[in-house]
Amino acid sequence: MKYLDEYRDERIARGLVAMIAQRATRPWVLMEICGGQTHTLMRFGIDELLPKGVEMVHGPGCPVCVTPLETIDKAINIASRPGVTLISYGDMLRVPGSRTDLFHVKANGGDVRIVYAPTEALKFARANPGRQVVFFAVGFETTAPANAMAVWQAKREGLRNFSMLASHVLVPPAIRALLSSRRNRVQGFIGPGHVCTVMGYREYEDLIREFHVPIVVGGFEPVDLLEAILMLVTQLEEGRAEVENQYVRSVTYQGNLHAQKILGEVFEVCDRKWRGIGGIPESGLNIRQEYADFDADRIFGTQGVTADEPAECISAEVLQGLKKPTDCPAFGVRCTPENPLGAPMVSSEGACAAYYQYRRHLVGAKGSA
């Protein structure tokens, strides 16, 4: 299949692996930011191909995983009310809140639905004027523009029964938080290709000036990731720290200006809590005052809902790349995708679930994989 097979090609992949092995004269610790990239690394077993010295740690880029507990609780709270239809993306439904999850709300009579795009939620709202339709919007800069568009359109149409519970997060502040940590081990980043498709990669130049780490914006197929790793290793070996773009078929320097415009129109930057990591300044997007009538958090009065996450949960260490999922004593024993103890076991983009789903057969063979 075009645009797929060539990026999964065995010969090209093997060639890149050989070049990485040749370039790497010292051990390097690299992080892929995006959950989609983690998923590819695990599904295709890229870790098996890399030379021993090149270690991948898995970043916080799974939107489902980092959505704070209290936001899940808010969604559950809203979905449990009569007359409300809560609509979201599929894997949000299984994320455990403090006491229950959205699948259970649905089983108990709540109207909870899955869609593939926020415009479907708009359509549902138009067709069902008697119901309050709430779109539960999570995600990085990638999904934010489409969500912004839904709110913008709702306002333009004067839709009275549509609102959004928004919990968007931004990548560059998260990288800044990781690099500012005294315990940081990461020496180079594979940048999030889809986020950069929207935002471009100007913001990442600031990070490099501040922290002197190479960042290569990478794609999501095995060949993309291997090429990005090769570019990072090359920079590190040469003592360079630059932003480079591996994902040229999708990412430009400026990004998608239309998407950025609608994003700025509807959302504003705010401080945000990340599940498993904690508060990160200016790392989220909130609905602007001008669109307050479409902000479910205000409409349903859930601003006060809070939930404390236990600071000692290992997911914090996993999402910062300090520990591997397999270092957790509960991994695969008490914590599985059926009974996730923590957020990274919930979505298949989460590091723990990706390990569990694709790699646990190698745990015994290779130690803590």
């Binding site: 299949m1 065995e10 995006c34 993306y89 999570v138 103890l341 790699r359």
Partner: protein
């Protein structure tokens, strides 16, 4: 590092949601939650040696004959889709469950649960489709029942069919019979049915040429059984897809199964839809495909017989049964690496990005 973790990490994560206090949609997915339901509620109450076999059909000796008996319910939405409808599915599904036991399907029962307000024309269409499918499969509907529920209590039509067939002497097919060294055969492309249904769902309509593969497989099975006595087990990988059926066989036979990624046939349209939606074709439903576990001596003959049959034209050898990693299915990837092909907990959920 792992040792440090034990000392340092006091696990105090969010309390998990045990899926035990209410039935969730995931319990019907064919994945691990379905298995839990079976093992925690149904089997403890109803346990007996025949049921414990957990095959797609029960085979019992009665009056000198070996009878195969099975039942299946159909709750598909939409009722009509490219390649078939709920009526064709209900006939073929039950015929196939019998065929996977090596049985010649003979008789079906038909129970309809109709929702108040269902257009009579739709009911006529479904019944006509049942008539045609039964005629093609050579089975007769000899008993039935209809119930009507209030609007909102059903979803148009729910269909249940049960089937009876006769298993010829000498045929012993069961999920616990796979042995290391056996080969895994697959009769054709995977994911066609599931992606067809998805493509018709509200909010997801995408133009595509894909049609459901729904078909009665008993004549294919008969040709395979005639080709070699080495067949140990047959399964039709319906809900839960290839992965669920193979995991079941691996678990029941206490063997490992190693697949070859490159030999598993997937249509471009199906692969494309899966990439777009973040789904894995290994978990997508089929309605006209079968998996055979065959001994190494007979596997080639079985494969040749499959390829001669119109429903097995694209048959392939997709893997082997191993002694290592019992109860686990793994896949050798094109890149030379390997991954697990796990039994999913519940339904496969589309990923956000």
């Amino acid at each position: 590092m792992a040792q440090d973790a034990k000392v340092e990490v006091a696990l105090n994560c969010p309390v998990p949601m045990p899926a035990k206090d209410a039935v969730l949609l995931g319990h019907g997915s064919g994945g691990r939650m379905s298995a839990d339901l079976l093992h925690s509620i149904l089997l403890p109450a109803l346990r007996n040696p025949v049921l414990d076999q957990l095959n797609d059909q029960a085979v019992v000796e009665f009056g000198g004959a070996r009878l195969a008996f099975t039942t299946d319910s159909f709750v598909v939405k939409p009722l009509f889709f490219p390649g078939g409808d709920i009526g064709a599915l209900a006939v073929n599904g039950t015929v196939n469950d019998l065929a996977m036991g090596g049985a010649r399907p003979l008789f079906l029962s038909l129970a309809l649960i109709l929702e108040e307000g269902l257009p009579m024309e739709q009911l006529r269409q479904v019944v006509e489709s049942i008539r045609v499918a039964a005629a093609i499969a050579g089975v007769t509907v000899i008993t039935g029942d209809t119930k009507v529920v209030e609007k909102g209590s059903g979803d148009g039509i729910f269909v249940n069919t049960s089937g009876i067939g006769v298993v010829p002497p000498g045929i012993e097919l069961s999920a616990d019979r796979a042995k290391p060294g056996d080969r895994v055969l697959l009769s054709g492309t995977i994911g066609d049915h599931g992606i067809t249904i998805l493509s018709q769902r509200e909010g997801l309509e995408f133009a595509s040429e894909i049609a459901s593969d729904t078909a009665a497989l008993h004549t294919l099975v008969a040709d395979m059984l005639a080709a070699s006595p080495e067949i140990r087990c047959l399964r039709d990988p319906t809900r839960g897809g290839l992965s669920s059926s193979l995991n079941e066989i691996a678990a029941r036979s206490r063997v490992g199964i190693e697949l070859e990624e490159r030999s598993i046939p997937v249509r471009d349209e199906v692969q494309g839809a899966c990439e777009m939606l973040g789904l894995d074709p290994l978990y997508v439903a089929n309605e006209g495909k079968l998996i055979a576990i065959a001994g190494p001596e007979g596997a080639e003959d079985v494969l040749a017989a499959m390829r001669k049959h119109p429903l097995g034209r694209d048959a392939r050898m997709i893997g082997t049964v191993t002694a290592s990693r019992p109860a686990m299915v793994t896949m050798r990837m094109r890149l030379g690496t390997s991954r697990i092909v796990d039994l999913l907990a519940g339904d496969q959920l589309p990923r956000i990005c």
